[in-house]
């Protein structure tokens, strides 16, 4: 810091301990936390200390969320203050071998697990001096950063009732803002259910619009548009947009939004993360049930403990991914003690790549081509597991000591426009319409995937059966892989032929202990889904699933939602009296086929904006759809812990919509700080931080044993307390929802919210029931032990610093008495004391050559459901097999900005989340104070750039290289270049975390008082505004139309030199 100017100050009176801004509760905050900060009585220096931090009554186990890995943590508490965060040793996410679950707390409390620097620095996100602790209402135009403090009740009243809410703002004197009461139109659960069914029938063309209108003549006023019943009710015009929301809060918010308010429009942020990777896995693992493909597993990981070879595509174990603590511990252990070898495919030399056997600096987006190069080599050299692939169903697999199989041998019908549906046995008179066909020794055989008769098939069959032209899925793969020479795949991927061969040979030679692992890198492209599928295909060729060291689904979790037999509280399905059925196409047209809409029947192809039948949570489409009012206009938006105006590619376009009070009449947000997007809100509510609240996040599949994590309040918040349903609580997402539920009388809340005598008035009424479900287990007899007297005592003592608004033992206990009168309290305490429930490592040790929790099903080498889906612009079918494509716009045109010489990618440092943690957690920003633009020295030389030059990023759709905040401020995308050999020439990369203009980086005016932004938080750049906008849509980035991912890596840029800077200290 500014050490030279500052004098050392020894006079305690001059220290401004309580320096604060009173209107935001700073001074009050310290007393509120109840922390006994002794500052008087200057006794001898260095009093003898007791070190209590590893005593069980000074620890609360919870779950981190500085990134989505959500490591189970131990929050250590000193004088009511969270002073240290370590890993929870009961969990497999922070230990190489975790402690047995029944380890007594006095023993477990001494063993700390490892977590990453972001998790450690959680202390500083929690105690962020820019935390919002009271409710703010905008005092100026949207985004002007002028606020007034108002009471929580006033804010809720205004949001519910609407009116001339911003008459104090010039230009809005007469604007009447719609309130939620105007949108809470459809309130009758019976009617909602009936309408939902009929609206779907209308969408599918099974019922006419006229018939629908006739049937519901008296209720048409509840619809957005009676001519399009498939838009759903007016309730849908209230939308809920969450960024980083996780299980626990997800269920809480969905119950409120969908079952309570009756709106279908609920999102989280997944498509700006790595959604196409999930969708690729899900489609490849969907099973055929009653005529439909469904139930796929959307996330699989290598069993790092025993893998012999891993090729990481666009990810690694030491940064980002899911996630570094446990992946690094397992990988390094394997590396040194069991001989793991690994390669990393990434245009940037990541930390993982920096330690790899081979770094493969692929062309951005060339991952699929590289995978196909490897596939070609493996097919040509028969370096695949033929025996595994020949198994056409479960019975055949089991004969070979395999638990999984593929549809490699199944026949695909070859249509004039390409491969189409899988051949059904019924089509050639062999069997039923739910049976498929393989050919064994030249003879077709009916395949029942899970049938008792083993069926093996020929891999290379092609021919015509009953006049139908067919090929096996495997032959299609072979043909495609052979359609380009190895040299051509090498050219397309940017990886030399020799490297492709070496890596393919290495991959094939370790068989079941080889894994092709992927995450964000290959999939945040317009061809992301296909890249993902191509990489997963590598795994299918060696048949590694469920084998130790192979690909695995992970240990999974005990379900918290109460859906399993013997679980006491079915909170998402059963315990919701008066629950509404939300229906209609989502605003983002996800999980909806365009062909099954009234719009399609009116307008046909192309659809105005894309439809996404295979994916969900298409985050980058939300605000552009609000802008276009397509398929219907939106009235009110609730933003929670998300920042679509910052975090998405092309996010700057969202700002134009956010400031438009006509297109978005009411916008309220809930955030722990005034963020880049929440600064545009009409009302900004504080939220509780991770360490102050609840959640039941799910475990990463990298953990081979089962685990159910529980996040719980470890410390009291500074956020103001309010009264809802007669209960005192801190303001947060849940409190806002409860207050609106109380005001509007939403079903499922209040005195009998969960049913007669089962109140839902405090958030613990919900979360503790979920904990009780976890405690009960997934079947009768699966429950955890009771906490004994000692543990109950520790539990209380550890919470002595919490007020009744947070911890009220009587009320907590009341929440876990089930309908039959059974009291689950002692079991709940047992789980809470350990921060969740974790299966012992022994389960893995004893599971033989396979992982303990198996997938045990079929993989789709050929994905029929995608092959039969039509592109909503061109009307053409997608491919059932991964294909290699250049970046494409919505209209199918190739995007090729050749006059911009460099390809832009991004990366995530271990020290930062995407939009959080750095640089606002100062411990982290002392290590990395700003980001830079990585460029290879050869590229820099070609461009005439030198070390520490400051450049601006410009692109075809942002030729000025600016973020226009629409409040008079424009933020240039400028940064220092960093010359490094660790980047592919012709490519530049910028890390996330930096470039903030809010989040404490900017000055704000609250109640007329000026609060300065912190220059430390303003550093670096965020490249999102440079990202290529879709030329056909103009207000959204390029997107993957199958997986839904936003394209972060298909943009070409130019660097414009604007200056020269002092040397950078250290680039990490």
């Amino acid at each position: 810091m500014k050490k030279e100017q500052k004098k050392i100050e020894f006079n305690p009176d001059r220290r401004k301990f309580l320096k604060s801004v009173a209107f935001l509760g700073g001074a009050a905050a310290l007393s509120q936390t109840g922390c006994a900060l002794v500052r008087t009585g200057l006794g001898p220096r260095g009093q003898y200390s007791e070190y209590h931090l590893n005593e069980p009554d000074h620890q609360i186990h919870s779950v981190c969320l500085q990134c989505h890995t959500g490591c189970p943590i131990r929050v250590k508490i000193q004088d009511g203050v969270a002073v240290k965060i370590d890993g929870n040793p009961y969990s497999p996410q922070t230990m190489v071998v975790h402690l047995p679950y029944n380890t007594p707390l006095k023993v477990g409390s001494k063993v700390d697990g490892g977590i990453c620097p972001k998790g450690q620095a959680g202390i500083q996100s929690l105690y962020d001096p820019y935390r919002v602790v009271k409710v703010l209402k905008r005092a100026g135009k949207r985004g002007e950063n002028k606020w007034q403090v108002i009471s929580f009740d006033q804010a809720i009243n205004e949001i519910v009732n609407g009116g001339k809410l911003f008459a104090h703002v010039p230009g809005e004197e007469n604007r009447v803002v719609p309130g939620l009461k105007d949108l809470y139109k459809l309130r009758d659960p019976k009617l909602a259910k009936q309408m939902a069914g009929d609206a779907k029938a209308v969408a599918q063309g099974k019922m006419s619009v006229a018939a629908f209108k006739q049937k519901y003549a008296r209720n048409l006023d509840v619809l957005i548009d009676p001519d399009h019943p498939d838009f759903g009710p007016i309730n849908n015009q209230f939308i809920f947009v969450a960024g980083r929301i996780e299980h626990g809060r997800k269920e809480f918010a969905k119950r409120w939004m969908k079952g309570g308010f009756g709106s279908i429009n609920w999102w989280e942020h997944t498509t700006i993360c790595e959604q196409s990777h999930h969708i690729a896995f899900a489609r490849v693992t969907d099973q055929y049930n009653k005529g439909k493909w469904s139930g796929g597993k959307d996330h699989m990981k290598p069993d790092l403990r025993h893998s012999k070879f891993i090729i990481f595509f666009g990810t690694g174990f030491a940064e980002a991914n899911f996630g570094p603590p446990v992946m690094s511990a397992l990988a390094t252990d394997n590396l040194i003690h069991r001989g793991l070898k690994f390669a990393v495919v990434d245009p940037r030399l990541s930390k993982t790549a920096g330690k790899a056997w081979k770094w493969l600096p692929v062309k951005p987006g060339g991952d699929g081509a590289l995978a196909y190069g490897m596939i070609r080599w493996m097919l040509e050299n028969r370096a695949y597991d033929e025996r595994y692939l020949r198994n056409a169903n479960k019975a055949a697999a089991h004969q070979d000591n395999e638990t999984t199989w593929t549809n490699a041998t199944w026949l695909v019908k070859i249509e004039p426009d390409g491969p189409g549906a899988l051949l059904r046995a019924s089509e050639i008179g062999l069997g039923g319409k739910d049976q498929f066909v393989a050919v064994h020794n030249g003879r077709p055989a009916a395949v029942e995937p899970n049938g008792k008769t083993p069926v093996e098939g020929d891999l290379f069959y092609e021919g015509t059966i009953h006049g139908i032209r067919v090929k096996t899925a495997f032959k299609l793969l072979y043909d495609y892989a052979m359609s380009r020479s190895l040299a051509e795949w090498a050219e397309a991927s940017g990886i030399p032929v020799q490297d492709i061969i070496e890596v393919a040979r290495e991959f094939a030679s370790h068989g079941k202990q080889s894994v092709a692992e992927l995450y964000r890198g290959p999939v945040q492209h317009t061809n992301g889904y296909y890249n993902g599928q191509a990489i997963i295909t590598l795994n299918l060729l060696v048949g590694n699933a469920d084998w130790k060291g192979g690909l695995m689904v992970g240990g999974g979790h005990w379900h918290e939602d109460g859906s399993k037999p013997g679980q006491p509280f079915p909170v998402t399905k059963g315990l919701h009296p008066g629950k509404l059925t939300a229906f209609g196409h989502k605003l983002t047209r996800e999980k909806s086929y365009y062909e099954q809409s009234t719009l399609f029947r009116e307008k046909g192809y192309p659809a105005k904006r894309p439809w996404f039948p295979h994916t969900g949570n298409v985050y980058q489409e939300i605000i552009p759809s609000v802008a276009d009012g397509y398929p219907y206009p939106v009235k009110v938006m609730f933003l929670h812990k998300g920042t679509p105006a910052f975090a998405a590619p092309g996010a700057h376009k969202a700002i134009e919509t956010l400031v438009d009070v006509e297109k978005l009449p009411l916008f309220f947000a809930c955030d722990i700080v005034i963020g880049e997007t929440s600064m545009y809100a009409d009302y900004l509510f504080p939220d509780l931080a991770i360490w102050e609240r609840w959640g039941t996040p799910h475990q990463t599949p990298i953990a081979a044993t089962r685990g159910s994590k529980v996040r719980q309040p470890a410390v009291e918040s500074k956020v103001e307390k309010v009264t809802v349903f007669g209960e005192e609580m801190h303001v947060c997402m849940e409190t806002i929802m409860l207050a609106i539920a109380e005001k509007l009388g939403l079903p499922g809340y209040g005195e009998n919210g969960f049913g007669p005598g089962m109140p839902f008035k405090r958030m613990e009424d919900f979360y503790l029931k979920m904990v009780a479900n976890i405690a009960a287990g997934d079947k009768p007899g699966d429950a955890v032990p009771d906490a004994n007297a000692e543990e109950l005592d520790i539990f209380r003592k550890a919470r002595a610093h919490l007020s009744k608004a947070v911890f009220d033992e009587a009320k907590w206990r009341r929440a876990v008495v089930d309908a039959s009168g059974t009291d689950w309290w002692k079991k709940v305490v047992y789980v809470l004391n350990r921060g969740g429930r974790y299966e012992d490592y022994q389960k893995y040790q004893e599971s033989g050559d396979k992982v303990p929790h198996k997938f045990g099903k079929m993989f789709n080498l050929y994905v029929e459901s995608v092959a039969l889906t039509h592109h909503s612009y061109t009307g053409k079918r997608f491919s059932g097999l991964a294909v290699v494509e250049p970046p494409k716009a919505y209209d199918g045109s190739v995007v090729d900005d050749t006059d911009f010489p460099l390809r832009l990618i991004t990366h995530k440092d271990i020290l930062g989340g995407q939009s959080r943690t750095l640089p606002t957690d100062y411990w982290l920003s002392t290590i990395k104070s700003e980001n830079t633009i990585w460029i290879n020295p050869r590229t820099a030389r070609e461009l005439g750039l030198k070390k520490n030059d400051v450049v601006r990023l410009i692109s075809a759709t942002n030729p000025d290289g600016l973020w226009d905040l629409k409040n008079g401020q424009k933020i240039p995308m400028e940064g220092k270049i960093y010359l490094t050999e660790g980047i592919r020439p012709g490519t530049v990369t910028v890390s996330w975390h930096f470039g903030h203009w809010a989040y404490g980086a900017n000055d704000v005016l609250v109640d007329g008082q000026h609060v300065e932004g912190d220059p430390r938080r303003r550093k670096g750049l965020c490249p999102n505004a440079a990202m290529r906008l879709d030329p056909a849509l103009k207000n959204v980035c390029l997107q993957d139309l199958i997986g839904g991912s936003a394209s972060f890596y298909d943009t070409r840029v130019r660097l414009v030199k604007v200056g020269h800077a002092e040397p950078v200290s250290i680039e990490v």
């Binding site: 810091m1 050490k3 500052k6 004098k7 050392i8 020894f10 305690p12 401004k16 935001l24 509760g25 700073g26 310290l30 900060l37 500052r39 001898p44 220096r45 003898y48 200390s49 000193q78 203050v81 002073v83 890993g87 040793p89 230990m95 190489v96 001494k110 063993v111 697990g113 490892g114 977590i115 990453c116 620097p117 998790g119 450690q120 001096p129 935390r131 570094p324 690094s328 990988a331 390094t332 030399l349 930390k351 790549a353 330690k355 770094w359 500074k718 490592y841 271990i910 020290l911 100062y922 002392t926 290590i927 290879n936 490094t980 050999e981 660790g982 980047i983 609060v1011 250290i1066 990490v1068």
Partner: protein, 302 residues
């Protein structure tokens, strides 16, 4: 320099240590604090009281031994064996396996949190290097704690004998004696010492100002230090002490615990059965700047 003036003007540097010592002895004698005891960490007190204090330490009960267990648990067992020996028979040693270090900086941050280090004070940075030319490049990460030298160049330069090597080999700083002259900072060939300028991360910042985590007591050397009072360790040299306050409770240094690559090992090199003894016997072991003859007790595996 203000530091020196204040302390010398009052003549307090010595007398306060005495007060402290007297208090301490009183507590010990009373037996009231007996259950709280850990070995006394400061030189003058140490010789007389170490044995008595050690006898009071309750070593934590550990999980049942199992054939496969986390190295962290194994090292805690090692620690307990060492703590049962007299202090001068222990040789606290750290081993860092650079092949396993993933450059995450968790140790750096964990150490800052554990020791409540202010801006400008860092005990364990991680140095990053890029080696090679595209596309044959790799990365190297080198954590750099205090080397706890057998022949520490930093201790002889201290004009007030505030810094010295304990019998178990850990080089410590007596904050009550330290006058903040910073000679030791210059003397250390590893740059392992930094100075506490009395700054805070959150002072005068934002809506809420100075945050509670910066105001609570620091517990280094087993003592409570109240930085906000503007006293020690403000104005002192500061350095890594292997988390002595944890070790002597049977807990591992914080950087060892938080190492997500399990690259950092800790234990007693005088114990042939300890993990660190195994590791430093490996052929790929090295120490930093061995040519200086400092004989570090931090080893690296290459």
């Amino acid at each position: 320099m203000e530091v020196i003036q204040e302390k010398t003007q009052n003549g307090s540097a010595a007398s306060e240590v005495d007060v402290h010592r007297r208090e301490f002895l009183k507590k010990l004698g009373s037996g009231v604090f007996a259950s709280l005891l850990m070995p006394i960490l400061f030189k003058d007190n140490f010789a007389a009281l170490a044995d008595e204090a050690l006898a009071q330490v309750d070593l934590p009960e550990l999980p049942e031994p199992s054939p496969e267990e986390d190295p962290l648990v194994r090292m805690m067992r090692d620690l307990q064996r060492a703590l049962k020996k007299p202090l001068e028979q222990r040789k606290w040693t750290m081993v860092i396996d650079l092949r396993k270090c993933v450059g995450c900086h968790a140790c750096t941050v964990s150490c800052i949190a554990e020791n409540k280090l202010p801006p400008g004070v860092m005990y364990r940075p991680v140095i990053e290097e890029e080696v090679g030319e595209y596309p044959n490049v790799h990365r190297r990460f080198i954590p750099r704690p205090c080397m706890q030298c057998e022949n520490p160049p930093c201790t002889p330069v201290c004009p007030v004998n505030a810094t010295y090597k304990r019998p178990d080999g850990v080089v410590v700083i007596d904050y009550n004696r330290c006058i903040g002259c910073r000679y030791c900072l210059t003397a250390c060939p590893y740059n392992a010492r930094t100075f506490d300028w009395g700054e805070y991360y959150t002072e005068d910042v934002g809506f809420l100002g100075l945050q509670p985590y910066e105001q609570v007591d620091t517990m280094e050397y087993g003592l409570d230090w109240k930085r906000p009072e503007g006293r020690s360790p403000v104005g002192n040299a500061r350095k890594c002490h292997f988390c002595l306050h944890r070790i002597e409770k049977g807990l591992l240094p914080m950087c060892v615990v938080s190492c997500i690559g399990r690259a950092t090992f800790f234990g007693d090199a005088n114990d042939p059965d300890s993990l660190v003894s195994e590791l430093i016997a490996q052929p790929n072991v090295m120490r930093l700047k061995e040519e200086l003859g400092t004989r570090p007790k931090v080893y690296y595996l290459m």
